[in-house]
């Protein structure tokens, strides 16, 4: 029996037990609509690529990283200086995180403006918002792990913010910190959240997200829905996958170049009792929220400005999550006002980010 016949026999043996023939048949027949908006559909798989890079580099970093008060900073220093190519692994982890979050934002905004969240894709959107929350959670918890003075101050602020939420806020802050204050317990806890809780949560939600995309298919652009015209379609395999691979290769090239030439630094080990360093800022993707907090005055009527700002941000998040139920127009309607709101939001986020950067 030659190898190819053995392979066929083995596949048949597996298929008899797993029944994956249906999946393969589906993927072989899967088509992707080809329109002038198709470019945006590439962002999803780019995010997936960055996530896979995060998993692989993250596992290697976890081999060396030690999440304790005494050793966190020095173990990262060891990764950067002693571990063979450890600096490159950390640098790729850092840059891939940045890229992942950027593409998550692009992905989200494109879906918002193209109104792809409308019936029947409400749950795809909602699972996507949960994935966004997971991604930002990864960024927030990962930022603390090198345990330098900047990451400590950012975490003190970030974990204190929930306190402003009435009733449950205090408990939530204590839960995040593992106590009243940011301490060694917080570090260990953030490590656990970063490498166990969030990956499990993200994978579970991602499974739902990807399943829904396969089940419902790509949404068609509005004008195609209106005119009911025939849209050109591209086979998913191999045509679409090959086009995606071109993008993956380009992104991988940019990522590795940045990682090699601009590796992240490492500050002095954090001292729990040292004053906050001047000009601290969170990572760029939190800047617009950071600046929102900053522009609220100390007191507005009977509420503290902080509570108001946090409630404002929370309300925004909830509206975001339930967005498909606020915009229930049929898929063919343009929804110009909502597009306007989307642009307004983008403008707001960009303006506050730039303001914060210049500040």
């Amino acid at each position: 029996m030659n190898t190819s016949r053995m392979g066929t026999a083995f596949r048949a043996w597996l298929d008899e037990r797993l029944g994956w023939g249906t999946v393969l048949t589906f993927l072989r027949g899967k088509k992707v609509p080809q329109t002038r908006h198709t470019l945006w559909t590439y962002t999803g798989s780019a995010i997936l690529m960055f996530f896979i890079i995060q998993v692989v580099t993250g596992i290697i970093l976890a081999f060396y990283y030690r999440p304790t008060l005494k050793e966190a900073n020095s173990s990262v220093a060891r990764i950067m200086t002693e571990v063979p190519l450890g600096w490159a692994v950390r640098s790729v982890h850092f840059w891939s995180a940045t890229f992942m979050i950027s593409f998550v934002f692009i992905h989200l905004v494109s879906i918002w403006i193209l109104k792809s969240y409308r019936r029947p894709r409400e749950m795809t959107w909602m699972s996507g918002v949960l994935l966004l929350v997971c991604t930002m959670g990864f960024g927030f918890t990962g930022y603390l792990l090198p345990w330098d003075d900047l990451s400590l101050a950012a975490t003190k602020v970030g974990t204190d913010i929930p306190r402003a939420i009435p009733v449950i806020g205090n408990f939530f802050t204590k839960l995040l910190r593992g106590g009243e204050d940011v301490s060694g317990d917080t570090l260990t806890r953030f490590f656990g959240i970063h490498i166990c809780i969030l990956p499990l949560a993200l994978l579970a939600v991602l499974a739902v997200h990807v399943f829904l995309i396969q089940k419902l298919g790509m949404s068609l652009p509005l004008e195609a829905e209106v005119k009911k015209k025939q849209v050109r379609e591209l086979p998913f395999w191999p045509n679409f996958i090959f086009r995606e691979m071109i993008l993956w290769l380009v992104l991988l090239g940019v990522l590795l170049s940045l990682a090699v030439f601009l590796p992240p630094g490492l500050g002095q080990a954090a001292d729990l009792r040292a004053p906050a360093p001047e000009g601290i800022k969170p990572e760029w993707y939190f800047l617009f929220l950071f600046q929102t907090l900053k522009i609220f005055p100390a007191h507005v009527l009977f509420l503290s400005g902080e509570t108001l700002a946090v409630l404002f941000i929370l309300a925004g998040g909830l509206i975001f999550f339930f967005f498909p139920f606020l915009d229930t127009k049929p898929a063919s309607r343009k929804g110009k006002i909502l597009t306007g709101v989307a642009w307004l939001f983008i403008f707001y986020a960009l303006a506050l980010t730039i303001w914060s950067l210049l500040d």
Binding site: A153, K156, V157, T159, D160, I161, K174, L175, G178, G179, E180, D181, V182, S183, D185, L272, R273, A274, P275, A276, P277, E278, G279, I280, L293, K294, F296, P297, A298, H299, S304, G305, E306
Partner: protein
């Protein structure tokens, strides 16, 4: 009084019993898990510092001490008495610095200012810095959480 018709069927009753039993079991298992999520924390009742370390402070100057894991500031007032503060900003929990030239506490995170008495005078802080009680006992400074009753 005997009811003519049953309020719920036998199946409903058994389902309720089962759901209630399973619910209580889940709650009983969840409680210890939630309980273990927060470690105990007790702030120190007092911190003792040797007076000799702080005797050279000029009026208006301050020197840090460790209030457990938080920064504390011991400041000499114009009349020569000592005042103690917890150097944690009341806005969003950053550690503040004392600027002796301006005689102010400053929080770099969101540019919060406090005067030398710890009163919030500028920026986002909603409340003054927390003050601790200072007691002198021979050659020892005792810093206490609260004023003695």
């Amino acid at each position: 009084m005997k009811l003519k018709t049953s309020l719920f069927s036998r199946r409903q009753f058994l389902n309720g019993l089962l759901a209630g039993g399973l619910g209580s079991l889940a709650a009983a298992l969840l409680y210890p898990l939630l309980k273990s999520v927060l470690p105990p924390y007790r702030e120190p009742d007092e911190v003792r510092l040797p007076l000799a370390d702080y005797v050279s402070l000029a009026p208006g100057e301050a020197k840090g001490f460790a209030w457990d894991i938080k920064p504390g500031f011991l400041k000499k007032k114009a009349d020569g008495r000592l005042a103690a503060f917890v150097g944690v900003c009341t806005h969003l929990d950053c550690n503040v610095a004392y600027l002796p030239k301006q005689r102010k506490f400053f929080c770099a995170c969101h540019e919060g200012w406090y005067d030398e008495e710890g009163r919030n005078i500028g920026g986002p802080p909603p409340a003054p810095l927390r003050r601790l009680t200072v007691v002198l006992e021979g050659e020892t400074i005792i810093i206490k959480k609260e004023a003695p009753a």
